[in-house]
Symmetry: C2
Subunit: 154 residues, 2 copies
């Protein structure tokens, strides 16, 4: 009943939970990343692969409400000239509270600390206005995002 | 005169130089990378920064005609779920000989050896047909490439 009460408070409030903690650690539990990604309908990735991808990422940010991961984002890159943002996600029951903005802000603070001049991302339809708030522009100078997808062998 | 003769042969031929060598080494001379990028009009990046970016890249491919770098491409990524291709370049006097295709093929062979399911890139205007030959698609499912550029402090 207490848990349910807390849950209700989060859903009703437009403010983020007051005790939200942000982490820049890469060695967070892969199952928590798997769970938050699955909560928004993304396919379930293997925890061992997630752990490896996090360690090979340039920056990883997670937002925690107690033991629950409620926001996540990461970036790959060369730590010098460019970085690319991936997997920006907020747990559905914690959305519309500004947590996505806070996660992105934390990620960009880390990337800017490396003095990386170009940060890129691939925005899903309808999400570009969110990223424009951080200074991202769509297809500047006619540059087009391109994708080549293949099935994993394993 | 001999050098000039070799040069002429390259410019006239639609075939790549027969002795072209491909390298997947990351510790290639930064000044050679700086030079080939400058040859196509890109801004001159500091060699020390180039070296650091190459070491932090996931894959680096260079094509050599003797001591001259004639083609280059690299990719960043997490080595698990995604990679992003950057800086695909062929020295102007060596263009239209299929060297770009060969460089991209070498890069994708290395990325595919890691079993990476998603390879992305940002295509300059007019270059998307080149990348489509490798299975890249523009903006699939309405995904848009976005960029945030800031000036380096140093």
């Amino acid at each position: 009943m207490v848990l349910s009460g807390i849950w209700k408070r989060h859903e009703d409030s437009k403010e983020p939970p007051p005790n939200l903690i942000f982490s820049h650690a890469k060695d967070i539990p892969a199952t928590d990343v798997q769970d938050i990604c699955f909560s928004v309908g993304w396919s379930k990735r293997e925890p061992a692969l997630i752990s490896r991808a996090l360690l090979n990422s340039l920056a990883v940010v997670s937002a925690w409400d107690g033991p629950l991961m409620v926001g996540f984002a990461r970036a790959t890159g060369d730590k010098v000239f460019n970085a690319t943002v991936w997997d920006v996600v907020v747990r559905p029951s914690y959305q519309r509270k500004g947590i996505g903005l806070m996660v992105m802000r934390e990620l960009l603070i880390e990337l800017d600390s490396y003095d990386i001049p170009l940060v890129t991302l691939y925005a899903d339809p309808g999400t570009d206005s969110f990223y424009k708030r951080f200074g991202f522009l769509c297809d500047p100078s006619g540059v087009r995002g391109m994708f080549r997808e293949i099935d994993r062998k394993t």
